[in-house]
């Protein structure tokens, strides 16, 4: 600042300045949106009690939150040291062998673009369809129920999902400022939905819910006391819980809060566009981890109390296994049942859809920024970073990634094999782990860059802050890589799915070596880009 304590100062500007686009608040919203608080609540409550009986959901959220904070700490030191856009490619390319850095980045963005398609799929499956169905139940109008079923048919699902993905491309091609502005509006709306859900749960009770559920669903399911029937049939068909906390299940179920929490570090993708990078990235990443964990702990505690742990577990178990008395136990629908209000159902559903939506342009941006960074380093074709003369945005990269998203959507909707792929997140966590591991040695291997970092003088236990932060991040990411590996529901290590991951790695290496040869033929040595010392 020009004036401090009334003292007037003269400054020495070394060069003309630079304005960055994303504020600290934008960074926080970007990350919290990519955590997708609503989707996290829905997936934890859906899969948690069903497949991990005895797992304590609150402790699992806290475990995932602490580990994600460690990973975020590592990435904060990376992005402060190299404040550029492009995700882990920017970091890895300055210390790892170039082929490995590009491959890690390709693995990472393949996972994120795949999850873009999944988010579009979930908006329809977990948001739109239950909302239409429940409105039909309450109004007694079968057309709504039919519409709820129709939107999850393959072709309507693909077309609506593709429309959502195209909308993301349109928003990104209008520019980062416009995208960040839309995120602020969507974030506020999503937060309203989450607050309504918390209020609904806080003012309800288990007894109220059982009465409402049995009254509404009894005639539909054609069962007396369906709440009790669902629990009984679930137990008869193999769901078992002795009423105590199982710590192994608590450890494994923590995969479900961890999976969305990885979004809290996604602002590494836009590092070159973040203002006051040290403050904004720290606040943006750690704030998103803490905010999401807090919202989950509150919502999940209330939901298990109001709906009942056994009911949540058996209802989802019956539906997923196709046994016993079946109903859709998504939290949006259950909140609607609790209040008997279509309006509440619509508002909560909209909130969930907004949370899920925030995944899509956020992850899409991640892919675009990585591809642009590759292109600027000449390890990808230059046209991929071409800027629209009218919109001033990288439309080629945006459209290219949008078509990849739509391709994933088609694979997800029309094939059984791809719809079962859950392992890509594990590959992305492995890629993060490699880059965080490299960060431990960065201050020693690239001292000429690290010395210019704002954190260069900061030490923890006598070691460079980056070394300590990346060591913590590496340990946490390894912990979750193996936790995911050990959990066939969340990820696992199915050989066929591992082949897909191996295929992405092979494509990454092949892509690098092909580009290297093409550039060599053009008289360009791409490895020089990786040896460049950034001027930060």
């Amino acid at each position: 600042m020009a004036q401090t304590g009334g003292e007037q100062r003269i400054f020495l500007r070394k060069a003309s300045g630079l304005i960055r686009t994303a504020s600290g608040t934008d960074t926080f919203i970007y990350n919290l949106g990519l955590v997708s608080v609503g989707l996290g609540v829905a997936s934890i409550l859906f899969y948690g009690p069903a497949y991990y009986p005895g797992g304590d959901l609150v402790w699992s959220c806290l475990l995932a939150g602490v580990c994600m904070a460690m990973i975020a700490f590592g990435f904060i030191t990376w992005t402060i040291t190299l404040p550029r856009s492009g995700g882990i490619y920017v970091f890895g390319s300055r210390i790892l062998p170039p082929g490995l850095a590009l491959t890690m980045s390709l693995v990472e963005i393949t996972a994120w673009l795949f999850y873009c398609a999944i988010a579009a799929y979930w908006i329809i499956l977990l948001g739109l369809s239950p909302a239409l169905t429940f409105i039909g139940y309450l109004s007694g109008n079968d057309a709504w129920v039919a519409a709820g079923a129709w939107v999850v048919e393959p072709w309507p699902l693909f077309l609506i999902g593709s429309g959502i993905l195209v909308l993301s491309g349109i928003i990104l091609s209008a520019g980062m400022k416009f995208y960040l502005m839309t995120q602020r509006i969507i974030f506020t709306s999503a937060l309203v939905g989450s607050v309504i859900l918390i209020v609904v749960l806080a003012t309800g009770s288990n007894a109220d819910f059982i009465v409402s559920f049995n009254q509404l669903m009894g005639p539909i399911l054609e069962v007396d006391e369906p709440y009790q029937a669902i629990i009984a049939s679930g137990k008869e068909n193999g769901w078992a819980w002795d009423g105590t906390t199982d710590w192994e299940q608590t450890w494994l179920v923590s995969n479900w809060p961890f999976l969305p929490l990885v979004g809290a570090a996604f602002s590494i993708a836009i590092g070159g566009e973040v203002k006051s990078v040290e403050r904004s990235q720290t606040y943006g990443m750690l704030g998103a981890v803490c905010g999401a964990t807090l919202l989950w702990v509150i919502t999940i505690s209330l939901a298990t109390s109001v709906f009942g742990y056994e009911f949540l577990g058996t209802a989802a178990y019956n539906l997923l296994e196709g046994v016993g008395v079946q109903t859709d136990p998504t939290i949006t629908l259950l909140a609607g049942v609790l209040t008997g209000s279509p309006l509440v159902c619509i508002l909560v559903s909209l909130g969930f859809m907004f949370w899920m939506w925030m995944w899509i342009p956020g992850m899409h941006t991640f892919g675009v920024r990585a591809i642009v960074a590759w292109s600027f380093d000449r390890v990808a074709p230059e046209p991929w970073a071409r800027i629209s003369p009218t919109r001033h945005t990288p439309v080629v990269a945006i459209i290219f990634t949008m078509f990849v998203n739509i391709l994933f959507m088609a694979l997800f909707v029309f094939t059984e094999f791809f719809s079962a792929i859950v392992i890509l997140i594990e590959a992305a966590v492995l890629a993060w782990s490699v880059v965080l591991g490299a960060g431990i040695f960065f201050p020693y291997m690239r001292p000429q860059i690290y010395e210019k970092s704002p954190i260069a003088t900061k030490n923890i236990l006598g070691l460079p802050m980056m070394t300590v932060a990346c060591a913590l991040g590496f340990a946490a990411s390894q912990f979750y890589f193996w936790t995911l590996w050990s959990d066939p529901v969340a990820a696992g290590h199915d050989p066929q799915q591992l082949m897909i991951v191996a295929g992405v790695f092979i494509i990454g290496f092949a892509f690098y070596f092909v580009m290297k040869q093409i550039r060599k033929a053009q008289g360009v040595d791409v490895t020089l880009a990786f040896k460049e010392i950034p001027i930060e």
Binding site: M1, Q8, I10, I19, R84, S85, E273, I387, T393
Partner: protein, 261 residues
């Protein structure tokens, strides 16, 4: 040119003039701003820049976003290489070009110069040629929060060379009403502008060649401009923001130029 002048890179003035004229011939509106514009707008006091040993480091232009494509093509045909990262990150609001042989750096600001505070160029590039108007030149310096010595010196020379007035007085007068309107709607800019302007007269002694009479002229113009700004009626938004004051950051933060991708 003598050796001292060579070190000041005065040849950049000729390059800037040639570029702006070539662009104009192709229908592209570019106007020079920054230190070269100050030299061009202050011919009567050019010796003061010599006294300062003011080194020219780059060439800055104001342009129009609607002509971005033409501007890019123009500089590419002139042999310059664009910094695509800055162009993309700024969404076309800023272009940076580097000449690989001369190492001359060119900055083009499309539609506005927006560092600490916003200075619009739309509808204002017709006021003067080959530089932006003297009014916008003054705003350009006075919007800088982390202001440095050479900015104060440039401003001194500008205030000595150009009287205050209105558009009716001619395009070389500093447009008091335009500045007052801008300051009356934006407390942050008002604070930075008036704080900086009050400090300008303190640097008159840095120029031994400025006569006492010239010093009085500068002081008089600064006082007159500050009084006009303070007298102008302020908007409600300005008054509310003024109550918060400098407890909340009042300007856009500017970081050191660096690669963004």
């Amino acid at each position: 040119m003598d050796g001292a002048s060579d070190n000041l890179h005065l040849e950049f003035v000729d390059v800037a003039l040639r570029l702006v004229e070539d662009a104009e011939a192709r229908g592209i509106q570019l106007r020079i701003l920054g230190s070269i514009a100050y030299r061009l707008q202050c011919p009567k006091n050019l010796h003061l820049f010599q006294d300062m040993a003011r080194v020219l480091t780059d060439v800055d232009f104001a342009g129009l976003k609607s002509q971005n494509q033409e501007v890019r093509e123009f500089f590419l045909t002139q042999g310059y290489k664009p910094d695509e990262g800055v162009y993309m990150a700024s969404e076309g609001a800023r272009h940076i070009y580097l000449h690989p042989e001369t190492n001359l750096n060119i900055d083009v600001f499309a539609n506005e110069l927006y560092f600490c505070h916003r200075i619009p160029f739309e509808g204002r590039l017709d006021i003067d040629f080959p530089t932006i108007s003297t009014t916008d030149l003054l705003l350009e310096k006075m919007q800088i929060v982390e202001i440095n010595l050479k900015d104060f010196k440039d401003t001194l020379v500008l205030m000595l060379e150009h009287p205050l007035g209105s558009p009716a007085d001619g395009n070389k007068h500093i447009d008091v009403r335009y500045i007052c309107d801008m300051m009356a709607h934006d407390w942050g800019f008002y604070h930075t502008f008036t704080t900086n302007l009050r400090r300008v007269e303190g640097y008159i002694s840095e120029f031994p060649s400025i006569t006492p009479a010239e010093g009085d002229t500068i002081r008089g113009r600064i006082t007159e401009l500050l009084e006009a700004i303070d007298a102008a009626p302020k908007s409600m938004k300005w008054k509310l923001r003024a109550k918060i004051g400098t407890r909340k950051i009042w300007y856009q933060e500017v970081t050191e130029k660096s690669a963004q991708f």
